[in-house]
C-alpha cells in the first residue's frame, strides 16, 4: 500500500458548533470500508492546501444491532459506521481554515485511521471518569458514546467537561443530554461564565475533589490542552487512581501518520504509532510529554 496517497472522501454533513469549530460527517468514496477505534485519528487533505491530523469524534457502531437500538436512547446522533465518521475541527491553521470553507458534497483526501485509541475493552466492568477540557471533548466524545452504547458493560460513569466560556461549549446538546441521564454523572464548568450561565464556573480541576472515587476500579480518560494535564494529574494523584489506569491523548503534529517523518516524536516514541493515547505510567517516563 502506498503510505502517503489519500483515498477520496465526501463531506456529507456540516454543522457549525461555535465561532471557531465546525463538525463534519465524512463518508469514504466508492464504498471503501473504514473502521476505527475511539481515540484514533485521521489525516485529512484539502488538495492544494495540505494535510492535517484530526481526531475522530464519532464512535464505531456496536456489532450487535440490538445494542445499537439500546444505545440510541439519549443520543443526539447515531453511531457512525461503515465508511462514515465524524470530525470536529477548530479553525486554527491553513488546512483547518480551508476545511471550514468547504460545504456538503465537497471532496477531501483521507488517510488512516492511525494510532492506538483508548483500550476500552480492558475497562469493562469498571468505573470510568472522563475529563475533557475544551477541544479535548472531540476525541473523548468518541469514547464516551462508545461506552454509552454499551452502558451495561461498564459500572459508574462520570463525565467532567470544562470550557472557557459558555459560548465555547462543544456538543452542547449532547452534553446537556448526558446531564439529564440518570445512569451517568455529567458535570460542566466554564472558566468565565456570562450572565446567562446557570451552571458551575471555575477551572475543571475543581470538579475532581468532590468526586467519590473507588480508585482501584476507576479508569480516568483525559483529553485537553497540554496545560490542563499537569493539574488534573495532581488531583487524580490525590484520589489515588493508579497511574496505569489513567489514559491521556496527546496532541502532536503528525505529518505522515506512519512513524517516519519524526514530527510527533517524544523521546523514542512516535505518537502516531504508539499513541496518541498513552497510559500515564508510560508517559511519566517520557520527558517533553506533558
Amino acid at each position: 500500500m502506498p503510505l502517503y496517497i489519500p483515498t477520496l472522501a465526501e463531506i456529507v454533513q456540516v454543522r457549525r458548533l461555535t465561532a471557531l469549530e465546525k463538525w463534519f460527517k465524512i463518508r469514504t468514496k466508492d464504498g471503501v470500508s473504514f473502521s476505527y477505534e475511539p481515540g484514533q485519528f485521521v489525516e485529512v487533505s484539502v488538495f492544494g492546501i495540505g494535510e492535517a491530523p484530526i481526531s475522530i469524534s464519532s464512535s464505531p457502531p456496536p456489532l450487535n444491532p440490538l445494542l445499537t437500538k439500546e444505545g440510541i436512547k439519549g443520543r443526539s446522533t447515531l453511531p457512525s459506521g461503515n465508511g462514515t465518521f465524524e470530525i470536529c475541527v477548530r479553525k486554527v491553521g491553513d488546512v483547518t481554515t480551508a476545511l471550514h470553507s468547504l460545504e456538503e458534497g465537497a471532496i477531501v483526501g483521507l488517510r488512516g485511521p492511525f494510532g492506538k485509541g483508548f483500550p476500552l475493552s480492558q475497562m469493562k466492568g469498571c468505573d470510568l471518569l472522563f475529563i475533557a477540557g475544551g477541544l479535548g471533548i472531540v476525541p473523548l466524545r468518541s469514547a464516551i458514546n462508545y461506552v454509552l452504547d454499551r452502558r451495561d458493560d461498564f459500572s459508574n460513569i462520570t463525565i467532567l467537561y470544562g470550557a472557557k466560556t459558555p459560548a465555547e461549549i462543544l456538543f452542547a446538546d449532547e452534553l446537556f443530554g448526558w446531564q439529564q441521564r440518570k445512569d451517568i454523572e455529567c458535570e460542566i464548568t466554564v472558566d468565565k461564565p456570562d450572565s446567562g450561565w446557570a451552571g458551575k464556573s471555575g477551572v475543571i480541576t475543581r470538579l475532581i475533589p468532590p468526586l467519590e472515587i473507588d480508585a482501584k476500579r476507576t479508569y480516568a480518560l483525559i483529553v485537553g490542552p497540554p496545560v490542563m494535564y499537569k493539574y488534573v494529574l495532581m488531583e487524580l494523584g490525590i484520589k489515588k487512581i493508579p497511574e496505569a489506569q489513567i489514559y491521556i491523548s496527546l496532541e502532536r503534529r503528525m505529518k505522515c501518520g506512519v512513524g517516519k517523518c519524526g514530527h510527533c516524536q517524544i523521546n523514542s516514541v512516535y505518537v502516531c504509532q504508539e499513541g496518541p493515547v498513552f497510559s500515564y505510567r508510560t508517559l511519566k517516563f517520557l520527558s517533553e510529554a506533558i
Binding site: 500500500m1 502506498p2 503510505l3 502517503y4 496517497i5 489519500p6 477520496l8 487533505s45 488538495f47 492544494g48 492546501i49 495540505g50 494535510e51 492535517a52 486554527v92 491553521g93 483547518t96 471532496i107 483526501g109 490542552p225 497540554p226 496532541e251 502532536r252 503534529r253 505529518k255 505522515c256 506512519v258 512513524g259 517516519k260 517523518c261 519524526g262 514530527h263 516524536q265 517524544i266 523521546n267 523514542s268 504509532q273 520527558s287 517533553e288
Partner: protein, 362 residues
C-alpha cells in the same frame, strides 16, 4: 562469487559498462577540497576525492525534495501516485555511507514499509570504495564500528596498493582493486563486464593484510564503549552540557541536513500556476529547527535549542540505537565539519560520558 581482481586501468571501463543501463552518480570535486556526488559524464576517480561528500549519497534514495503524488483540485479532485524510479548506480560510496544506507533500509522496511524508498533502493546499485586512510579530522568511523563493511553494497573496491607501498614495490607493480562481491546483482554486473578475474590466494591474503594494517590509521575516540551510550544519554537529560550548548547552538539544522542517517521530513502541497492541480511534496526536515515540534495551536514541545540538540543526540546514540542495536550515527563527521559554531559530536558525547563519571577509556 569469489573475490575478484580489477586492474586499475580498467576502472573507467567498469564505469562505462554501468552507464549503459543506469544513471551513474559518482564523486567529483566541487571547489577546493570539497566533494559531491553528482551525475558525471566521464569517469573521475573517486579515490582522488577522499573527504566525505558535502551531502551523503542518501539524496539518491531519499531526495531533498520529491513529489509523493499529483492531484487535481476543484469539485471532483483526483490523485495519482508519482513514480519516478529508474535504475541507478551510486559509484564510490564509502563504508560509513554504506552503513548509513543500511540503516535507512531498516527505517523504511520495518514497520509500515515504504515502497517509494524501497522501490528506489531495489533499482540502485551500490559500488563501494573501501577506506584505507583516515579521511579527515572530523570522522570517527572506527569508533562507531562502521569502518568494516560486510553488506549493503553490491560490489566493494579495495585499493591494493594504498597501505603497504613498501611491499608493493618489492613485487612487480600492478595497480589493481580487490573486489568483494556483496550481492547477486553485484555478481551479475561483474559477469556482464567480463574484465575481472578471480583473486588468487595470495591476493586474498594481501587484502586481509591491508585490512588489518589500516586499523592503525584509525583511532577509537569515545571515552567509553559504544554499547554504553544509550545508558549515558538516558541519564544525561539534565546534563549541564545541554545548557552550555544552548548558548552556542544556532539551531540552523545544518547537522541534520548533512547527516546520512537522518530521515525526518516535512510534507506540503505545491499548486500549479493554472490552479487546477498540484503536487504533494516531501522535503528533508531537521529536528534542530525551531518549528519542528510545533502543533497547530502554537504549542512548541521542544522550544529550546538545547532540547532539540538533546533530542538529536538521543536519536543517534539512544532511541534508534536501542531499537536497532547499533548507533544511528556512522561517524562520517559531516555534522561536526559543517557546524558553524564548531559543535563537535565526539566532543559532546565525551563530555556527557565524563560528566556521568564512567569514562573508562583513554
Amino acid at each position: 562469487m569469489k573475490p575478484q581482481i580489477l586492474l586499475k586501468e580498467d576502472l573507467p571501463l567498469l564505469y562505462e559498462s554501468l552507464k549503459k543501463k543506469n544513471k551513474v552518480f559518482s564523486v567529483m570535486e566541487k571547489g577546493k577540497g570539497k566533494c559531491v556526488f553528482a551525475e558525471t559524464d566521464t569517469f573521475s576517480d573517486p579515490l582522488d576525492a577522499y573527504t566525505p561528500t558535502l551531502l551523503p549519497p542518501k539524496k539518491y534514495l531519499l531526495p531533498q525534495q520529491e513529489t509523493l503524488f499529483c492531484f487535481r483540485m476543484g469539485a471532483s479532485p483526483s490523485v495519482e501516485e508519482n513514480v519516478d524510479v529508474e535504475p541507478q548506480v551510486i559509484f564510490g560510496v564509502r563504508p560509513c555511507d554504506i552503513h548509513a544506507i543500511s540503516l535507512l533500509d531498516k527505517t523504511f522496511s520495518l514497520e509500515n514499509a515504504e515502497n517509494r524508498y524501497l522501490d528506489r533502493r531495489k533499482q540502485t546499485i551500490i559500488v563501494g570504495i573501501d577506506c584505507l586512510h583516515h579521511c579527515d579530522t572530523y570522522s570517527f568511523c572506527e569508533t562507531v564500528g562502521t569502518l568494516d563493511v560486510k553488506e549493503g553494497f553490491d560490489i566493494l573496491l579495495t585499493d591494493m596498493q594504498s597501505v603497504i607501498p613498501s611491499e608493493a614495490k618489492e613485487s612487480h607493480i600492478v595497480e589493481k582493486f580487490f573486489i568483494t562481491v556483496g550481492t547477486k546483482k553485484g555478481e551479475e554486473i561483474l559477469k556482464e563486464f567480463g574484465k575481472t578475474r578471480d583473486a588468487s590466494d595470495a591476493e586474498v591474503e594481501q587484502f586481509n593484510k591491508i585490512h588489518e594494517a589500516r586499523k592503525r590509521a584509525f583511532e577509537y575516540r569515545f571515552k567509553t564503549e559504544v554499547a554504553n551510550l544509550p545508558l549515558v544519554l538516558a541519564g544525561a537529560n539534565e546534563d549541564v552540557t545541554w545548557k552550555e550548548l544552548e548558548e552556542i547552538c544556532l539551531g540552523c539544522g545544518s547537522c541534520n541536513i548533512v547527516c546520512p542517517t537522518c530521515y525526518c521530513f516535512d510534507v506540503f502541497d505545491n499548486v500549479d500556476l493554472s490552479l487546477n492541480g498540484g503536487e504533494r511534496c516531501r522535503q528533508w526536515d531537521a529536528c534542530t529547527l525551531k518549528d519542528f515540534a510545533v502543533v497547530a495551536t502554537g504549542e512548541n514541545f521542544r522550544k529550546s535549542r538545547a532540547n532539540r540538540l538533546r533530542h538529536r543526540f538521543n536519536r543517534k546514540f539512544n532511541y534508534l540505537m536501542t531499537k536497532y542495536g547499533q548507533p544511528n550515527c556512522v561517524g562520517c563527521g559531516r555534522c561536526s565539519k559543517v557546524c558553524l559554531v564548531k559543535i563537535d559530536t565526539v566532543d559532546v558525547v565525551n563530555r556527557l560520558i565524563k560528566n556521568k563519571g564512567i569514562g573508562n577509556r583513554e
